[in-house]
Symmetry: C2
Subunit: 494 residues, 2 copies
């Protein structure tokens, strides 16, 4: 039971986000470990479902999992010039171990390109060893000043793909392929549309030739970078001497990629679908699909209603669903309803004595319309084919969430051609997805950020922005008026 | 292809162990990170199968997964007196982060009783919050001086169950239940018999009232502690103020357990089943169940044989098996055979032109008997019902491995009643499972270890030691002659 209601989004969006996490018991700040968090069972169960689905997609595209050391010799980070610049300020450093000061400190991995590069150099000799397609599920650590649960924490959990290829072409194909895997996962499983694109040099991964990204739109109009896929070129190959003998017998540096998504996706999930009642979770990621609340007055009613509820649960579980029969005593049905709503259970079934008699139950989706009296709409389901009815509602609900998110995304995207309109779009706390021309310089990019807090999220794939099929067109930079060849995507971001 | 053969067990058992790991590409020493290892894809795939099966068992017994911070404030370790004494010498310490020296250092978790105790204190208020049944899959770090891959490394991967209960009785039941889960897993999945028992005070987990263990017998006669389950009593509850209001309205400390198994089980797997040809893996844990080697001379033969091999693979995959069709060119069938044997693939199918014509294939188990000519026995399988034949052979192979391991275990166990025989049993490099009386003192336990290197593995469950149904009987300590009430299990150990 919650003793603290959820702050409405309209009142304080940031507080709403924290409240949803607390009320759904997804996670909590670790406090005693600066900037870190505990992921509680209900939150971790969502991550496990994300992992299972992604892991299947990675294996289907030929990747194998492995595990590399948590600790990285500090000197490794410095071997790639841009990498050390990007990550040095955020490192946690182990200086003592086993009661002694270490000769060389270790850093806790902020990402594993360096240590994995070291081992790739041992494993790769010949073109026959390529491509080498590895993924790791791991915890990583980046000592951030400002943290926010799931979005940016000291420690977080992720997967990092690391691959090595014989040619730049194959390497680039892999970068594109894995970004598409992420895009498909977001749409099919998270019910979240994203825009694929290429990062500007300024937003690129430290050590990459090119970074591709998927950008999601949160309900407050801000963007969330949901996943990235990097073309590392030969940068780490040269830093760690990862070479292979090509078919002509010559030694060459390999071409590498890396790509990752993290527990940040849980933050994306919350800010894409949830509402003032709490978490909204697509059925494909819901730790509990169905909560059955028995309704009764007498002991006799209780016995028959609970017997019926358990029977329904058994039947639904046989279909692979996770079902909770809420038999807690001394708690009113309404309180149970609110609790399962806060936790994002997609479907509630209510079973009372009259339902038992009629061999039916009342079904209420986590997001239902309201009837003419303003009451949430419920649907009567027959118990004889309860699996069919529940399956249909869950499928519909998954589709509905994607539809809602797509509509919100489409409504948020505008095209802007002058600086005045641009400033209005990002006035105060406002944000949206703004397509505008940019002169291609980092100086202008930073000046725009300075003036509006909006950043270039990406140079979107042509065709990926609903309503704006052609972004590649001549124009003039919204800030400087200098010539531009394509519109880019601006937004404030998390 | 291996360029270094596997050292026979009889020549150098420790080297054989390293060779099997290297040749099966299970793992390698990290070298640049002292005492740590990289688990390579073939090794990690075995761990993933172990995880999936164990995780299902944990969930079936009501546990939920969560994730707690990697870092623990150093002061936390000191809050439980025995805990700090046990773990202090092995800690890796983070003193700097984000470019600054930390006010209080963090240690990388060697185990998580302390940090989890801290959060349990927040989550538990009332008897209604109990039992709280949590598990975590995580990496942990213990800075060990002598390391050996999988068995003892600086970083390792494990699961740690942490539960809180209202009464000592329920807590003890949990300790017993989870040890049994481990025992069942070892037998049913790893095909490895273990002996359950209680650790002596000297071998107890630092901070526990009681530690229960499962002990496996390795092929060299040494014991490997394969999993432990601890009754923590109220020790951590008192250290971290984990209290609940009982049904009478009084505040009490909770009773806690913790229990874990780790990637060490891969070491147990290797040393239980493998042979001088390399890894032997029970089908239930094999990353690849079947390797199909096409045999041909001409291009025409190649085409028809490979077509047939792919068809068989598709059929077996539909049964949920992982199948590799080894189509590599320029490599002789014999070289392929050795490679899949080294990697522990349970079943090899050979398909040549005559097999295609006869609609059959030759099946060879990873461990086969030999025929009258000394050649490995193969079996002809019809392709029309290849799934049935392969399924039967894999089931038989799983059962055979358990049977072999049980027979080896039974042969290794002896009962000893005088010090001379005891010394003989552990002479030189020898070890076995020795049942002997012990006077119950730590002094004698340490004196025996000093004299023979044998340690008390546990006070076995009565009935768990094959051939010795009654260990509880009056006797005299094998070292001091003082009275004893039961035989205990001695062995040298990893």
């Amino acid at each position: 039971m919650a003793d603290h209601p959820i702050t409405p989004r309209a009142t304080d969006y940031a507080q709403w986000y924290q409240d949803v996490i607390a009320q759904a018991e997804l996670a909590e700040a670790a406090e005693v470990v600066k900037g870190c968090m505990v992921v509680r069972p209900h939150g971790w169960a969502i991550w496990e479902k994300m992992q299972a689905d992604l892991d299947r997609r990675f294996k289907e595209t030929g990747h194998q999992n492995a595990a590399f050391p948590l600790l990285i010799p500090q000197s490794f980070i410095s071997k790639e010039a841009q990498h050390v610049e990007g990550f040095s300020p955020e490192l946690a450093v182990v200086t003592h171990a086993g009661g002694k000061e270490l000769e060389e400190p270790y850093v806790i991995r902020p990402t594993s390109e360096t240590i994995i590069g070291h081992f790739f150099a041992k494993w790769i000799q010949s073109h026959r060893d390529l491509p080498l397609l590895i993924n790791q599920w791991a915890n990583v650590m980046r000592w951030e000043l400002r943290t926010r649960m799931f979005l940016r924490t000291g420690e977080f959990w992720w997967q990092e793909g690391h691959t090595a290829h014989a040619t730049h072409g194959e390497c680039q194909e892999e970068v594109v392929r894995m970004l598409d895997v992420y895009r498909d996962f977001c749409r099919e499983v998270m019910a979240m549309p994203v825009i694929r694109g290429i990062k500007t040099a300024n937003e690129r991964f430290a050590g990459a030739l090119e970074t591709r990204t998927i950008e999601g739109l949160m309900q407050d109009g801000k963007a969330l970078q949901c996943g990235t896929s990097h073309d590392l070129g030969q940068n780490f190959g040269k830093a760690f001497d990862v070479m292979f003998q090509n078919t002509a017998g010559e030694r060459e540096y390999v071409w590498q990629t890396s790509w990752g998504v993290s527990t940040r996706l849980i933050g994306a999930l919350i800010m894409t679908h949830s509402d003032d009642e709490g978490l909204v979770c697509p059925p494909r990621l819901a730790p509990i699909h169905v909560a059955i609340v028995p309704i009764y007055k007498t002991d006799e009613e209780r016995a028959s209603v609970i017997e019926c509820a358990r029977r329904v649960a058994t039947e639904l579980r046989a279909d692979g669903l996770t079902v909770k029969v809420d038999e807690r005593e001394g708690m009113k049905p309404g309180a149970k309803y609110y609790e399962w709503e806060r936790k994002g259970v997609p479907l509630r079934l209510e079973i009372g004595p009259r339902d038992v008699a009629a061999n039916t139950c009342m079904a209420k989706r986590r997001i239902a319309g309201v009837d003419e009296k303003g009451k949430p709409m419920k649907e009567t389901l027959g118990l004889d084919d309860i699996g069919v009815g529940v399956g249909r509602i869950l499928d519909e609900f998954q589709a509905l969430l994607l539809q809602r998110a797509k509509e919100r995304q489409a409504k948020s995207i505008i095209s802007v051609d002058n600086w005045g309109d641009f400033e209005v779009a990002f006035a105060g706390n406002d944000s949206r997805f703004v397509l505008a021309h940019w002169d291609g310089t980092t100086a202008t990019e930073l000046a725009i950020k300075e003036a509006t807090k909006a950043t270039i999220r990406c140079l979107p794939y042509d065709g990926d922005v609903p309503g704006f099929p052609n972004l590649v067109e001549p124009g003039r930079c919204v800030k400087t008026g200098a010539p531009s060849t394509q519109r880019v995507l601006f937004a404030k971001n998390y």
